[in-house]
């Protein structure tokens, strides 16, 4: 088995003292970031990205992925103890996690949440280990039309599967692409939409956009909603952990179902949130005691957490094999790869195998270290939320400013950050999704070049996307997703089912 051998080689890279240290630091910071309001995974990775410019790329990506795992774990802490979902995919965890904590079973709920996260993520990582090289092998044969078709699929899934208003998803995507097009057109050397302003010539940095949209926007939203942390005690000790572990094997089917749903939904963008809700709904439907759900059922914590983390892991699969991120956090990491001088995409497996396999191996070590650390230090992390918000708020704003400036050492970026913050606040309130905007901003140049090269190949005929077998199939699925918001209500009416309310969306 090639995969096993490569993985073994990867472990030799990931399990050096320095890289293990980096993973521990990453998980520590990530969990703190996940617990703090306004600092999600994407934003945390964006702020720390400039710090990695001087590090070796493999250590840098290990730091960022560890941060990502940490942020995922941190989201569970706030959901269970404070009833505050730090991330949208933790919303379903609050349904049963918080009632459990109110009944004094917070320790059990947290142990179940962390263990499920671990199992879900591990499932995805194992699948990534075997599928990633195969997918990369296939992707090596891809030309510009195939890559553009995948981009179409990426964005169509936000519109078709994202929930919420499809028109607003479309506007978010287009706005991201427009912002990406500002500045120098690298193909023709022409300036676009700069209007003679020097500051616009370098365009908009997506890292600054992420910090503004997610960091400042989120903090504005949370002060508006009134930050009040009525936390319940953690009630966590070794005994509780071991006792909970004894009970958990009962939910094997929920674990397996959640992991599959998570992986399947997760490698498409925007999948983690619907995956967590879907897994919760399935667990409830198949349970012998569906009436207990929502009142404090361990299974109601296991189901969404397994799915959310399986999805979180799966979103890294398209990033490393195709160079197309599955989530905003993966998008920021992808930006990091470009900054470190690596070309994301299938060639990475050929040109930088030590990087790819080091990264994959670090996902295993990161998760093992992560689950051990959060289990051990939950009270410490929970204590962060007891810091008064009049200290947390300016601290987060100041850290965001530092992060925005350090990207390019440009003052104008700090202003952009503030403006993006206000945009993020208004967009969030009006239900414009932010994730597709960020993804479009990151992928803008790649998508445009793929489209232009495809058109050059076909001498101007857009039909090339449908004429080649692989790109044709992908484009067809993309068109189907684009049409889904129109088809679904019509289909439901045909079957006489009323249209349910839109599901919560990804950020």
């Amino acid at each position: 088995m090639m995969g096993i051998e490569n993985l073994f080689h990867g472990f030799q890279i990931a399990v050096t003292p320095f890289n293990l240290f980096v993973a521990v630091v990453g998980i520590m910071l990530g969990t703190i970031i996940g617990v703090l309001p306004g600092l999600g995974g994407a934003n945390g990775v964006a702020i720390l990205l400039p710090l990695t410019f001087t590090m070796p790329p493999t250590s840098a990506i290990i730091l960022l992925t560890s941060l990502y795992w940490g942020a995922l774990f941190g989201g569970a802490i706030t959901s269970v103890l404070f009833n505050i979902p730090g991330e949208p995919w933790s919303v379903a965890t609050t349904f049963d996690g918080y009632p459990l904590a109110r009944q004094g079973l917070g320790g059990q709920a947290l142990t179940a949440a962390f263990t499920s996260s671990f199992v879900g993520a591990l499932f995805s990582i194992v699948l990534i280990t075997f599928f990633a090289p195969l997918l990369a092998e296939v992707a090596l044969k891809f030309g510009p039309p195939e890559f553009f078709a995948i981009q179409l699929l990426t964005f169509s899934s936000f519109i078709g599967l994202g929930g919420g208003n499809p028109l607003k998803s479309l506007v978010s995507i287009v706005l991201g692409f427009i912002l990406a097009a500002v500045g120098l057109d690298i193909v023709t050397g022409q300036l676009r939409m700069t209007f003679g302003l020097v500051d616009l010539m370098k365009g908009f940095d997506f890292i600054v956009a992420v910090i503004g949209l997610f960091g400042i926007g989120e903090i504005l939203l949370s002060v508006e909603e009134g930050l009040s942390f009525k936390g319940t005690p953690t009630g966590m000790n070794l005994r509780v952990v071991l006792d909970t572990w004894k009970v958990l094997p009962r939910y094997t089917r929920t674990f397996v179902r959640g992991a599959f749903i998570g992986f399947w939904m997760g490698f498409k963008p925007g999948g983690a949130t619907p995956a967590s809700f879907m897994s919760y709904a399935f667990a409830k439907r198949f349970s012998k005691h569906p009436e207990r759900f929502g009142k404090g059922e361990i299974e109601g914590v296991v189901a969404p957490e397994t799915a959310a983390h399986a999805a979180g892991g799966a979103s890294l699969l398209p990033m490393i094999t195709l160079g197309i991120p599955g989530s905003p956090t993966a998008a920021v990491m992808l930006g990091g790869l470009i900054i470190w001088g690596l070309q994301p995409g299938p060639m990475l497996f050929k040109e930088k195998p030590e990087f790819v396999w080091g990264l994959i191996a670090s996902m295993y070590t990161g998760n093992v270290i992560g689950v051990a650390m959060v289990l051990a230090f939950v009270p410490l992390f929970a204590a962060i939320l007891r810091v008064p918000f009049a200290i947390l708020t300016p601290l987060i704003v100041a850290v965001c400013a530092v992060g925005a400036y350090s990207v390019n050492s440009r003052m104008i970026d700090v202003w952009y950050m503030l403006i993006f913050g206000v945009i993020g606040y208004v967009f969030k309130k009006l239900d414009y999704p932010l994730a597709p905007l960020v993804l479009a901003l990151v992928l803008g140049d790649l998508a445009e070049n793929a489209l232009r090269q495809s058109l050059i190949m076909s001498h101007g005929s857009i039909l090339i996307l449908f004429e080649r077998p692989i790109s044709g199939a992908i484009s067809a699925v993309a068109l189907f997703f684009f049409a889904l918001p129109i088809i679904t209500p019509w289909w439901r009416r045909l079957r006489g089912v009323s249209v349910p309310a839109a599901s919560p969306r990804e950020t």
Binding site: L170, E224, E225, A401, L430, R452
Partner: protein, 153 residues
């Protein structure tokens, strides 16, 4: 809610118009060796205008309307926003460290009504930590002002 929804969509239509106009200026057709620079942004602008027009229609038709934000709930948002703007303005003359220290101190006193010892600890401690991590460990320079110059940085 409806007013803000309409205003946002209208602004975006305006933006779409600007994009379309600029794309037409640089050419949206076929150049010597492929699509010209304006080709991609032109269609983005067109989609933007159409989608936002549809959003306007939706917003207009929506029967129930709740306020976008009430006055009481907007107050804390502005309390974060305008001191933050002031901080960004002050970064240029004073440097980032002093500006963020002032911002943290001001916000803690004004909104949180914390005691001066706690304020001093946070307002000095946070920028100092940023300095140690960014400036000395990772060698990422921040904008500096007279205080840092006086200290010899």
């Amino acid at each position: 809610m409806r007013a803000v929804d309409l205003a946002t969509a209208s602004l975006l239509i305006l933006l779409g118009g600007v994009v379309v106009a600029d794309s037409l200026r640089i050419g949206i057709g076929w150049g010597t060796d492929g699509p010209r620079s304006g080709f991609f942004p032109f269609w983005l602008g067109v989609i933007m205008i159409l989608a936002c027009a549809a959003i306007c229609v939706q917003a207009w038709r929506r029967p129930t309307d709740r306020p976008f934000v009430t006055r009481e709930r907007l107050a804390p948002v502005l309390k974060v926003l305008w001191p933050a703007t002031l901080m960004v303005i002050l970064i240029t003359p004073l440097g980032l460290y002093v500006a963020s220290a002032l911002y943290v101190a001001f916000y803690m006193r004004w909104v949180g009504r914390h005691g001066w010892p706690a304020i001093a600890l946070c307002a000095i401690g946070i920028p100092l930590l940023v300095f140690v991590v960014f400036e000395t460990w990772f060698l990422v320079p921040m904008p500096k002002g007279p205080l840092e110059a006086w200290l010899g940085y």
